[in-house]
Structure formats: C-alpha cells, structure tokens
Symmetry: C2
Subunit: 424 residues, 2 copies
C-alpha cells in the first residue's frame, strides 16, 4: 500500500486519479451488437448468449417452475436475512415519498409538482463470480414502491442456461415476474430496442462491467435513460485516533474484494493508525477466500496522512468517493462538511457492508467521481417529476402584462398573443 504524508494540495488531483477506461474501443463492439439486436431481436440476443455465456437457451424468460424450484435451493437462514433486508430497504425507500405542496406564486396562479412512476424499467443484475441477489433487492424494491408498470430483470445465465437460485428467490420475494436470461451488451440492447420477448424500456438501472457500462451509455443515444454511468467500486475511510485499525482494515478489505480494479483509500490524521491498519490489512487479507482479487486492489490503494480533519474532508470531497466511512470522534460535525459522496457511514459501528445489504440505504451508487453530480439510486430515480399550473381568469389578469412584455422583448408575438386574446 502506498503511503503518502501531507501531500500538497496541487498534487491531490494526481494522487486521487482513477485508472482510465477505454470507452472508444468497447463502443464499436456495442454498436455492432446493438444493430444486430435492432434487426433480429431475440435471435441476436440468443446468439450472443451462446457466444459469451456458452449457454443455448430454448426460452429467454425464466419459467414459473424455475422460480418455484429455486425456493427449495435457498437456505432458510438466507431467506430470513433477505426478508429483513427487504423490510429495511422498503422502509427507507418508502420514507422518500415526496409531498405535493402547491404554491400560489401570484394571486390566482397556482403551481405544483407531481411525481409519476417511469412506466417501463429494465434492471440489470451482473453474473460472474458472486451472485448479487442483494442488487435485486436494491433495484426492484424502489421500482415496486414507485409503481413502475413493467419491470424487466435481466441477468446472464450460466453455461447450463440457469440463473442462481438466490437471485430468482430474491426477485420472487419482491414481486418481479419477468426475468430474462441475458447479460452483457445483448441484455442492454434488448432493453433498448425491445425484442419479441422483451419490451423496450424507458430507463435502465444496474451495475455491470465495462461492456455493460458502455452499452448503457450508448443506449442513451436511442431514447433510453440510465441510472448513472457505473464503474469499479471504491471507498474512502476518513479516520482519526478514535478509529480502530482492525475495523478500518476490515472495511478497506470489504471494498477491495469486489474486484482487482476496486479502489480503497485511507485518509487519517493519525500516523499510528495508518501503520496499524497496514499490518491489520495484511493479517486479515491472508485468510480471505477472495484474497487474490483483494490483493490486487490493495496494491493500488493509498494510505494518506494529513494534519487535520478539515484537510481530510477537503481531500475526500475532491476524490468524491462512492462510499465514505467517517470514523472520527466528532463524526456528526464532519458529516456536515461532506460535499461529494454516494453513501456515508458514520462512526465505528457502521461498516460499509451494512449499506451493501441491509441498513436500508441503496447500494447502487455513482463511482469514478460522478458523486459530484449524480445521486445514487433512490425512489426518485424511478419517478419523473411533472410540473402543473392552473391560472384563473383573475390570475391571468394579474400576471398577463408581465408575460406580454417579456414575450414581446424576446420577439415572440404568438406567445404574447396567447395571453392578449384571453384578456380581451
């Protein structure tokens, strides 16, 4: 782990640089696959599933039998845990419902906002080494609360054409009925253009590797919106002498085990904590089942010493981490100074993994510095907001001349006339 002491401010951007991605290279592959899906629909999706996932499918959709079979393959323990997680995630996302407050801006002129669910959404759940059933809960629960009419979940099958039972169980638990066996670029393409068995959606959600991420970005050219551009997971721990090295190390490692390209940074005002954390990381790492992956991420990680907590939070805001743990004595005060972060974990007993699974917050968060302008997935991500206005005859009399003067000054006569003709 690279240790950096008191870095000068003009070096921060360089120190905090993330590895670059090659967007252009992947983009031409995406464009090619998209054009085949647009033309040939399900057939093209199946061809790519055969090519990339080595699976030959008779049906793109998961059957009811597969879902009921899955339930028998999931342990009671895990079922119970999923129910607790579901309850907490539901509670937190329910609490995000907005209240409509009509405002009378001028006498007789009433304005307000209303939210409406996005009608058709696609949820992407990656395959790969870990079956991310937790992401099923995170993406589907707010979609159900918002009331999206069509929710389509895509996830790649294994080479036998099967989906992990825990993913199927989680989907069933939250009421998802349409599960498509497709992953990668072909899944995003199917959701973008629609095929015989998959509806064209309005918005695509979910994490994925660089192929999925690029495909989502390209999809925005075709009238689909996306939750956010995703990237490798990352965490910054901000700690003073009140933090415990063993806890900090366990948090850094929980992020590091996601992938070799994950990034973890410790910023601390305590040199001893830095030294102890480094030792603890080594100790805990040795016994992890995913130690090879975690080691790669740890090799790229940084331990940064700064003189005070104010500098530490400023540096964190510059990095704009996906996950931010604040383990300082006065964490409540430091929290107020957070400008850019996806999800923040306060104090010594709030591990990041709590947010990954069950505290109730969403774990689908912006990475790669995008927390500077994007929010994580929340209830609002499944809604769009529509403004309404209702003006009485009296109200138009009050506001009319303002509109007429401005319209005339912009040279837009017809805009003016729409008022004048009503006031006559």
């Amino acid at each position: 782990m690279e240790k950096i002491f008191n870095p000068k401010k003009n070096t921060w951007i360089e120190i905090l640089k993330r590895p670059t991605k090659e967007f252009a290279e992947v983009e031409s592959t995406v464009t090619q696959i998209f054009s085949e899906i647009e033309q040939f629909g399900d057939k093209a999706v199946n061809n790519y599933t055969k090519k990339f996932d080595k699976a030959e499918l008779s049906d793109l959709l998961v059957s009811e039998k597969e879902i009921s079979d899955a339930s028998n393959l999931v342990s009671d323990n895990l079922k119970e845990a999923l129910k607790v997680a579901k309850a907490n995630i539901s509670k937190f996302h329910e609490s995000q419902k907005v209240v409509i407050k009509p405002i009378e801006t001028t006498s007789g002129v009433i304005c307000w906002q209303e939210t409406r669910a996005i009608e058709k959404v696609g949820l992407y759940i990656p395959g790969g080494s870990a079956p991310l059933f937790s992401s099923v809960l995170m993406l589907a629960i707010p979609a159900k609360i918002a009331g999206c009419e069509e929710i389509i979940l895509c996830t790649p099958p294994d080479s036998k054409g099967k989906i992990n039972p825990a993913i199927l169980y989680a989907a069933d638990l939250v009421g998802i009925t349409k599960i498509v066996k497709a992953g990668g670029i072909q899944a995003i393409g199917a959701l973008t253009f629609g095929t015989e068995s998959i509806a064209k959606v309005d918005k695509i959600f979910g994490p994925g590797n660089q192929f999925v991420t690029t495909a989502k970005q390209v999809a925005t050219k075709y009238g689909v919106s996306i939750d956010m551009p995703a990237g490798p997971s990352e965490m910054l721990v901000l700690a003073d002498s009140s933090a415990k090295a063993s806890f900090v190390a366990s948090d850094l490692l929980s992020q590091a085990e996601h992938g070799g390209d994950s990034q973890v940074i410790l910023v601390s005002t305590d040199k001893d904590l830095i030294a102890e954390t480094e030792k603890e990381v080594e100790k805990q790492l040795a016994v992890l089942s995913r130690r090879d992956i975690a080691q790669l991420a740890i090799d790229n990680s940084k331990l940064i010493y700064v003189e005070d907590v104010d500098t530490a939070i400023e540096l964190s805001n510059e990095y704009a981490p996906e996950h931010l743990i604040i383990a300082t004595e006065d964490f409540e005060k430091v929290a107020l100074k957070v400008k850019n972060a996806g999800s923040v974990f306060l104090g010594n007993y709030t591990p990041e993994s709590a947010g990954d699974y069950a505290s109730g917050t969403n774990h689908t968060l912006p990475t790669n510095g995008y927390t500077k302008s994007y929010s994580g997935v929340n209830l609002n991500a499944y809604y769009k907001t529509i403004t309404f206005q209702k003006i009485s005859k009296e109200g138009l009399k009050n506001l009319g001349s303002t509109i007429e003067i401005m319209a005339a000054a912009e040279g837009l006569d017809a805009h003016k006339n729409a008022v004048s003709i009503r006031l006559k």
Copy 2:
C-alpha cells in the same frame, strides 16, 4: 394541418413519430472541436467563435462595464417584468426544498438522505433570432437557491462581440457574475474540459440546437453530467367542447413560432372545435412577425379527433409531450391521468406562455418523448442526494447476522468480516 379521425391504436406510434435527428454526423464534428479545446483551451474556443459567430474577441468574459452598460439599454417595463418573473420562479423553486426525514429501519440503525448543491454548473443560453433572457432566469435561479458555488453562463456573442443587453441584465438580476462569450460546441467543450478562463464544470444545463445537444451528449463521456437531451420544442393540446378555438389556436401558434421543427398537436373530442381551430390558426398566423417559421411548424402539425377524453389522454401519454394543455370541462380529473408530460397547463386561462415566462414553473423541459423518463429542470437538478447511515453498537448486534448471512451467500467474506470483527 393534417386532420386524423379516430386513429386506430396500432397506428398511434406512426402518427406520433417525431422527425429523426442525425446524431452520428454531428458527433464527429463535436469530437474534433472537443479535442482542440482540450489541447489549446481559450485559443481554440476563440478560433471557433471567430469561425461560427464571426466575432473576434479580446476577452472571453463579459466585463463589469458591459453589464452596467446593459442596464441602460433595457426598458423599465421589461426590468419590472423580469423582477415579477424572478419572484415567481424563486417562490416555486424555493418550495421544492426537501425535508430530511431520518428513519430508524432497525432499532439502532438510522438512515437518511441529505442534498448537497452540485459545486460547479455551466448554464447554456442559445443565441440566434430571439434573445432568450427568460432561460437565464430559469437556469440561474434554481442554481442560486441550491447554492452552487460556481455558476458559469455561456452564450454566443454577435458578430461585434456583444451579448444582448436583456440577457446581461437578467444574469445580473439573479446574481450571475461569470458570463462567457462562447456558444455552440465550443462553449460545451470549454465547460467540459475547462480552459484558462473557464472552469471545468460538473453539470451542464440549457437548451440548444442539434450541435449543442450532441455536444452535451458527448460531454457525458468525459465525466460531466447534463440536465437532459434537448430537442425541438413541442406541445399537445387536449381539448373538449368547453375549449375556445381562438385560445387553442393561439397556444398552437405560440409553440409553432419557436422553430420550423417545432411540433404542435391538437387532440379533441369535438369535431367543430377542430374545424374552428384550423380557421383560427390561419387567421392569427397571418399577422405574426414570425409567420414564416410558424407556418413551417403548422404544416407538420396534426389535428386528431378521438371519441372520448380517456382515449385522448392515453394518446397524449403515448406521445409524452413537453407541454400539455388540458382544456376540458373536468381538467382536474384528466390531470390525474397524465403519465408522461413535462409541464401541464390546466383550463382555459392557463396559456403555455405563462409557464415560459412567469408562472413560476421551469420552462427547461424534456422533449422528443424523454418525458417518459426525465424530469424538467427543477431545484433537484442542481443537487445530488447523499445517503447517510449511523449504526450504534446495539444496532449492529440487531442487524449483524442478516449482513453476515447475505455476505457469506454472495461469497464475500471480507464483507462478512467487517461485521464479525466489530461484534467480537
């Protein structure tokens, strides 16, 4: 105007089709200009301003003197109107502030959301035939309310290097101090990469032609986010026999005068209203200063008869208009059935131009069907939402096993360990 009676549902998509845009062609121009700006900064911006706007600039930034001079060139009438509009827009956007509601999802586990202003935002105001000072108010007022730290307004100069005084006055009125004389692709490029005199921003807002729109979309590849993909303006009027043909015609024309590519659609349950509106359009059009532009849009517009209001609103939801006027007897009931629209105008005395200028709602709205998944610009567009969680020792005891079981089942030992080590 094309008249369509009782179209079958399977023809709706075809009838409601918008003209397609050529994204790919413009994209290569954008990429070229962006790469020059990334390399040569201000110099490249100035070169393109000379090329496209025919202006040779000594300074990219508007000076204080230019702003104070502008005030003398704006009529008192217009100043007063701008102040009324500012007050209403401010009131409505202030009312959109969210309340933080912490939730205890499990005993000892507290979760909440907080909003933070996006630090650096770029606001784009098009040049061209109409000086859109109203867009200055619409984009800058919520940015100021949100508390964005750096707000940069870009707008193209005329061939003498000047900006319209009403735009400068409006910017000054709402407290914008940094105004850049740059438009088109070069302005978006400067905001994306930053130059000597323009800061790299986190998010770009504002309308524009297809060059600006494509540039904004390309900018998202470089870590910048955007308000929405913009397109030609559009309106759908949903009217029954309670509507007045002259009012409806004035609204259709106010939309049509924006540009030859604007789209206006009347959907009505009253054949007489359709016939009268057509006559009224002809009559009112004849005396408009922008009649040539409006005529082009009117030529492409549609008058659609359907048998009942339910069918009308269903058709409107399929079209997903930017602006929707509901002029029916029971407009309150119909409003509840709106699924997709940017801004909705209720009753006979709520012309769309009220929302363009002064009702208080924002006129920066999604077009081209994007109201299916995007919101218009509102206060929320200048914030990102950060989730926080704070777990007590007791709370972690309550939730710990849920996290441990799920982490283990996803094969993520280190995630489990971050809990186990704390519970020891």
